[in-house]
């Protein structure tokens, strides 16, 4: 059976926070509702639980990959063509350090960005229950629930002075 997404739109953060409060009292699980804002409010403004994420892992993976590539490139090219230049050793370490420094950071950055997109659950092909007024200051509380709870949830959202409540595909 298809899940439904109920979206309540609020003008003030207080109202939105009340809506979230209602949902929590009604025993809606934390992962079943989301708050959508056009403004980055500090974490916990709406009494929602803190965000859990593994973003910090990504840079390290990237760094390791980048470093490995750099060492392979640096040492490899020098050993592959054993040509003496400027009386420097065939395998000179300092240049390898410089190259690996750059590529390590490059790897870390690229993977961080991948991580951000992945952890923010993007890219998301369909917006689902969404309202363009959210980017104009309204605050949306969207709750995904099964068919039979739709009316109850609609009521919960409505009670918190919602200016509109919409039901869409979850």
């Amino acid at each position: 059976m298809a899940n439904q997404a109920v979206l309540g739109l609020y003008r003030t953060p207080e109202a939105a926070a009340d809506a979230v409060g209602n949902l929590q009292q009604a025993g809606v699980a934390d992962h079943d509702y989301e708050i959508m804002t056009g403004v980055p409010y500090p974490e916990g403004t709406f009494g929602e639980p803190p965000v859990r994420h593994k973003l910090y892992v990504f840079p390290f993976i990237g760094a390791i990959i980048g470093f490995t590539l750099a060492v392979v490139e640096g040492a490899g090219t020098q050993l592959a063509y054993p040509m003496v230049t400027g009386g420097k050793p065939i395998l000179s370490i300092p240049p390898i350090i410089i190259i690996s420094y750059e590529l390590t950071l490059l790897g870390a950055i690229v993977f961080t960005v991948i991580g951000i997109i992945f952890e923010s659950r993007l890219p998301r092909p369909a917006l689902g229950a969404y309202d363009t007024r959210i980017t104009e200051g309204l605050i949306g509380v969207v709750c995904t629930c099964s068919e039979e709870r739709v009316e109850e949830v609609r009521g919960l959202l409505q009670r918190a002075a919602a200016i509109e409540v919409k039901v869409g595909q979850g």
Binding site: Y81, M83, V84, T85, G86, G87, K88
Partner: protein
């Protein structure tokens, strides 16, 4: 690709005896002819874009009326630790196993990094496509590449002659004899200022002249530690002091 036979141990070096140099520029002409160096017209000189693989640097010394001209024949020093080599991003110049500082024309992309790092300013850039008048087309040396626009070039110790001598020696299954051949400049020098040979062979004339204990021995910009492969012998005259200051 190198023609060095196993058991050979060549280090091609040159000795320049300043005392013998008259500044006649024969070496310069010979080099131009041998190595297909583009013609340096007057305005090219004025732009200081002239290409001379070997040049006679002239320094004036003393005050008028007793002014002395000092001549310093200068060519690529084929440094042991050549500063020009490691700065090249594409291995267009490197050190080969005969002590030569080699320039690979078709690998060069013209960063001119090497030219900046050469303390002797012995590397030359082809600013334009070189052209020769119709009449001179046929005197170009077939053994030497005509360098393209946009790449570096410099003295090679006439590597084409070295290779020829070595091939000959290989055919006759012997080592290259001292004085068997010489680069164009050495061949052309009337006073025997320039001496060329294999400095790894202790009997060779070069090795004799460039002995570390030679009283007149010095090398250019030695404090840079580039270990030049060209050794200079001081001028012997009462103006020794000035001579040193002039060229050093």
């Amino acid at each position: 690709m190198t023609t060095v036979r196993s058991g050979w141990d060549h280090k091609w070096s040159m000795v320049v005896d300043i005392d013998r140099c008259t500044g006649c520029q024969a070496c310069v002409v010979a080099c131009q002819a041998e190595n297909n160096v583009p013609i340096n017209t007057e305005d090219i000189f004025k732009q200081s874009r002239a290409i001379e693989w070997i040049r006679i640097e002239r320094y004036w010394e003393g005050e008028f009326p007793d002014v002395k001209a000092r001549y310093l024949p200068a060519m690529c020093q084929h440094c042991g630790n050549a500063p020009c080599e490691p700065v090249c991003p594409v291995y267009a110049t490197y050190h080969n196993n005969e002590g030569l500082n080699v320039q690979v024309y078709n690998r060069c992309i013209g960063t001119r990094f090497c030219a900046n790092n050469c303390p002797f300013e012995m590397r030359f850039f082809n600013w334009w496509q070189p052209v020769w008048p119709e009449s001179l087309r046929n005197q170009l040396n077939p053994d030497v590449t005509v360098r393209n626009r946009g790449i570096m070039e410099k003295c090679t110790f006439c590597v084409q002659r070295i290779r020829r001598a070595e091939r000959k020696a290989i055919q006759e299954e012997r080592d290259v004899k001292d004085g068997e051949f010489a680069p164009a400049c050495v061949q052309a020098c009337p006073t025997g200022t320039l001496v060329f040979g294999n400095s790894n062979d202790p009997e060779s004339r070069v090795a004799q002249l460039m002995k570390p204990d030679h009283p007149r021995r010095y090398r250019l910009l030695e404090h840079l530690g580039t270990e030049p492969n060209v050794v200079y012998l001081k001028k012997v005259d009462p103006y020794l002091e000035e001579a040193q200051n002039g060229s050093h």
